[in-house]
């Protein structure tokens, strides 16, 4: 289809272009303003042209709070760079604020001197009041620290789209593409991928398509034409491993990892779950892939979800449940049953702000203790944590690998930041993935008997499944006699089994890759130890500090229980250990209890990730103290 728009009046001289290593942009507006959409578009465009990208959306807790209110603000932050990125960016270089509420809730994250693009039309008295502004902040000098650009986006969009035949109301909906066009100009991005996407999406609705295209181009040409902006920025392509890429969020990657494991094992995948933010998208994603023999069961509650998974595992499926912290609380009784019956299954916990209902749409990593220690009795199970959105793919497969190899439930911890954050993912070649062979016995393992609790040298029993003649047996939550699996109340057997179950979990460490040091492999002054989604800010902060010559290294635990066998050894190579966590020190307590190391805590529990800068500062001040003390 043909969309025409006035060619831009050429400027007296073209705007100069400055090169940058990375840029962080945030789109913010009302939930109804389509900010997630344009953010995603810009992410794709940046990635396709070779930038590394990392993104994080910030949804409001309410579905659709009244338009214009603070509660209704939705944001999307994109970091694109010419180098490896590990976070969505500390401070925002450019903020696009579509209304006063969006300005209010976001402007504090904008860097001093940052670009502030405002949809001027939305700054009317009603909206100002809804946002709680007593006076118009655009006019009282309160935004002096920023480069303020007031653009009447609604008027300009209306003007651009006036001939599309759309109603005024529908035209107003296109203003997000206007803002995107402008930002594309500002960062020298091509319109082409977004134009293509619009064609695909609205190909059948000519008027909507044309209006969005016009708005996009009008925004772009506005940049071309106006003299407002004194510089444009360009972020060159990053050096990235060659291959085919796509963008994945942690939840998408996790779902794909689960399907991949089942496919490689040639098994049905059973997912029993009850919806909960921020884990629900795994259910949504899996339910779209029934042709992979994925069987999703939306249970009546979390207890039915986990117990159905236990049943499915008993019957021989690769079985997994996903939830967030409050859901895990409800599942713990049943997880202990899976520990007792020694059945393989995976429990995904996409952590969110707690305790209780807490901050359901925000991120946190305060469920580590719950995973390791949160059950009655001695109930050890394996605990893993993914470190980046794409790593969720790998760790999901690992979780199944360990579950089946060791006949045990495995926790896989993710969090809201990983779940919804996105990064590019090098699409693997399925034929090159490790084989995943699952064996079920078909014959007796004793003279004319099947002994369900007979074990291999790693203490693992066999996974005999219903439908197999001759291997009929019973499992349950009462203490079992070792080898026979009969109910047994004898004191010595109980003690034996309690230790055996712990030992079996400890044996997993044999198959866990060693902990790696990023930095000084021989040890040194300071090790920053992380787990889960702190990987990004920690690694980048250490990288920066090291480039400044500081004696700091980092290590990241993706296996929390058991930890890699060399963990203690590595920790002891460093004079001090710093553990940044989005909780009050849960890994720290685990490390202290295990290794008696006086690790230093760095704790931020604000529902949002660490910035690189925060960790960098902390490293600096620790090493500075150190030097101070030494001298």
């Amino acid at each position: 289809m043909v969309v025409s728009i006035e060619p831009p009046v050429t400027k007296t001289k073209p705007t100069p272009v400055v090169e940058r290593e990375e840029i962080t942009v945030r789109f913010a507006g009302d939930s109804g303003d389509g900010m997630q959409l344009v953010g995603t578009q810009m992410t794709n465009t940046s990635a396709m042209f070779g930038n590394d990208v990392s993104t994080f959306p910030d949804f409001p807790a309410e579905i659709r709070a009244p338009a214009g209110t603070l509660a209704g603000v939705s944001g999307y932050q994109l970091n694109f760079g010419a180098r490896k990125l590990r976070t969505a960016g500390d401070t925002v270089n450019a903020l696009i604020a579509m209304n006063p509420a969006a300005l209010k809730t976001n402007v504090e994250d904008l860097e001093q001197g940052g670009i502030l693009v405002i949809n001027d039309d939305a700054f009317n008295p009603t909206n100002l009041q809804k946002a709680g502004y007593k006076e118009n902040p655009l006019e009282n000098g309160s935004l002096e620290r920023y480069q303020l650009f007031r653009i009447p986006m609604e008027k300009l969009t209306a003007e651009a789209c006036k001939d599309t035949g759309l109603t005024a109301r529908n035209i107003a909906r296109c203003k997000n593409f206007y803002s995107l066009g402008l930002v594309y100009w500002l960062y020298g991005k091509s319109l082409e991928p977004t134009e293509r996407w619009l064609q695909d999406k609205f190909g059948k609705k000519a008027d909507v398509l044309s209006a969005n295209l016009k708005a996009l181009r009008a925004g772009y040409y506005f940049g071309e034409t106006t003299d407002m902006f004194s510089v444009r920025y360009l972020v060159p392509a990053a050096k990235i491993a060659p291959g085919r890429y796509r963008k994945v969020t942690g939840n998408e990657a996790l779902a794909m990892g689960l399907i991949t494991a089942a496919r490689l094992a040639n098994k049905p995948l059973f997912y029993g779950s009850y919806p909960i933010t921020p884990a629900s998208d795994i259910l949504h994603e899996l339910s779209r892939h029934k042709n992979f023999d994925v069987r999703t069961f939306q249970a009546e509650d979390e207890i039915a979800a986990i117990t159905s998974v236990i049943g499915a595992s008993f019957a021989g499926a690769l079985a997994v449940t996903g939830t967030s912290g409050p859901g895990v609380a409800l599942k713990q009784e049943a997880i202990a049953l899976a520990i007792m019956t020694e059945l393989p299954l995976v429990i995904v916990n996409v952590q969110r702000g707690g305790p209780s209902t807490g901050l359901p749409t925000k991120t946190e990593q305060a469920d580590l203790h719950q995973a390791i220690w949160g059950r009655n009795g001695e109930a050890p199970c394996c605990v893993l944590a993914a470190s980046t959105p794409a790593d969720c793919f790998h760790m999901a497969m690992e979780a199944f690998r360990i579950a089946v190899q060791y006949m045990t439930p495995v926790f896989l911890l993710s969090d809201g930041y990983l779940a919804n954050g996105a990064e590019p993912w090098l699409i693997p070649d399925p034929s090159k993935l490790d084989k995943f062979v699952v064996k079920h016995p078909t014959t007796h393992n004793d003279t004319d008997h099947f002994l369900p609790y007979k074990r291999n040298p790693d203490l693992v029993r066999e996974w005999a499944i219903p439908g197999t003649p001759g291997l009929e047996h019973r499992v349950g939550g009462l203490e079992k006699r070792d080898i026979t699996g009969d109910v047994c109340y004898e004191p010595d057997n109980h003690d034996h089994m309690i230790r055996l179950r712990r030992q079996k979990i400890d044996n997993i460490a044999k198959t866990v890759p060693p902990l790696e040091i990023y930095g000084n492999t021989n040890g040194g002054e300071l090790l920053v130890l992380g787990w889960g989604s702190t990987y990004g800010p920690i690694t980048s902060a250490v990288e920066r500090c090291r480039s400044k010559g500081l004696d700091v290294s980092s290590a990241h635990l993706r296996y929390l229980d058991p930890m890699p066998q060399n963990s203690g050894e590595i920790l002891k190579k460093f004079r001090r250990v710093l553990i940044p966590e989005m909780n009050l020190g849960q890994l720290r307590a685990h490390i202290r209890a295990t290794f008696l190391i006086d690790a230093i805590g760095m704790n931020k529990v604000q529902g949002k990730p660490f910035t690189i800068n925060e960790i960098e500062t902390q490293i600096g001040s620790l090493l500075h103290q150190q030097n101070g003390r030494k001298s």
Partner: protein, 340 residues
């Protein structure tokens, strides 16, 4: 059910495991165990394709005593565990053994949802109107005023009626029997075994230790003919020692009438277990001792697609439409780009 005739025909005792049975001597559970084994033999169930799932309670020890696959799970969750078993492998025959506490107190929600989904499971509720295993607290089916360890002054909870609850959730198969009436129990269990969909059977079961004689009215020679009425599809509701009493509908209310005189069999309520709407079954479920004889037998037996059939139908349809999933296609979903 997996009833393909196998080479050797099994008998009831072939379904017994080697475990010592640990119920109290005289417990009604023994009879239920025995009738279940008989029915498995009758329908020719294969041991390897049969799974018994239970929760916690005396009754929930059931799987240990069967030579099939078995799962003694946790309190109240058997229907959910069983749903997982069935969905993971729809070829299995899955039975649930539960108690009035296990199934209706802590497990009430799973009971409700399993029934409404019509998962093809057989749910046997051993109703002894007491918590046996924990030594005698009242249960959700204990009558108002019942004195137990936890209600020394009598219970102040109105009981739930399991069949009414099941019908509230629109169960496709609902029946009742009683431990000591072994022929009837066997018959009802066989009907349940053959039903495709959730089959719910309430079994009155005597706990001779903590609630002895709870069902004496329905079992003693003197009273049972007057306190129970046997449902037969297409037949009028007639009961009493000499089959002289019947149940007639008066508007929406059942009433007891004497046959003979003006009143003919044709005036009575005729049982129809196949009514599409469960209202009749509900009405029957409301007939309680001492006002009414309590109906025994199949209240309702209708067919509708099962949960696992519909789910697997979607899986098959997806495979037909898109082909068996290829990981390449999974990964390539959405926008991709190539870095050289």
């Amino acid at each position: 059910m997996s009833t393909e005739s196998s080479v050797i025909q099994l008998t009831a005792k072939d379904y017994a495991s080697d475990q010592d049975i640990r119920w109290c001597p005289g417990c009604g559970d023994y009879s239920i165990l025995q009738q279940v084994k008989k029915v498995l033999a009758t329908v020719g169930a294969k041991r390897e394709n049969t799974v018994f799932v239970s929760g916690i309670g005396c009754s929930s020890r059931f799987p240990y005593y069967m030579s099939t696959y078995g799962f003694h799970s946790i309190h109240g969750r058997a229907p959910a565990v069983a749903t997982g078993v069935k969905v993971a492998n729809p070829a299995l025959d899955v039975w649930v053994a539960t108690g009035d506490g296990d199934g209706l107190s802590i497990g009430g929600n799973h009971f409700l949802h399993t029934i409404r989904r019509n998962v093809n499971l057989k749910i046997l509720l051993f109703n002894n109107r007491i918590y046996g295993l924990t030594k005698g607290q009242y249960s959700p089916t204990s009558p108002l005023g019942k004195k137990t360890k936890s209600t020394p002054d009598g219970s102040v909870d109105y009981p739930l009626h399991p069949i009414s609850v099941a019908i509230g959730a629109e169960a496709t198969f609902v029946a009742r029997s009683i431990d000591v009436n072994v022929k009837h129990l066997e018959h009802v269990l066989e009907r349940a075994a053959k039903h495709k969909g959730t089959a719910f059977v309430e079994i009155y079961q005597n706990c001779n230790i903590f609630n002895d004689m709870a069902f004496e009215y329905a079992t003693s020679k003197e009273t049972k003919d007057d306190t129970t009425v046997f449902l037969e599809h297409g037949k009028p509701l007639i009961f009493g020692k000499d089959k002289k009493k019947g149940i007639r509908l008066h508007g929406m209310n059942p009433e007891i009438v004497e046959l003979g005189g003006d009143i003919k069999e044709d005036d009575l309520l005729f049982h129809d277990e196949k009514q599409v709407e469960p209202s009749l079954a509900y009405l029957l479920s409301r007939m309680h001792f001492p006002e009414f004889p309590e109906p025994m037998g199949v209240f309702r037996a209708v067919e509708r697609p099962t949960y696992e059939d519909m789910l697997m139908g979607q899986v098959d349809a997806a495979v037909r439409a898109k082909g068996p999933g290829k990981l390449e296609d999974l990964y390539d979903d959405g926008e991709t780009w190539v870095v050289n």
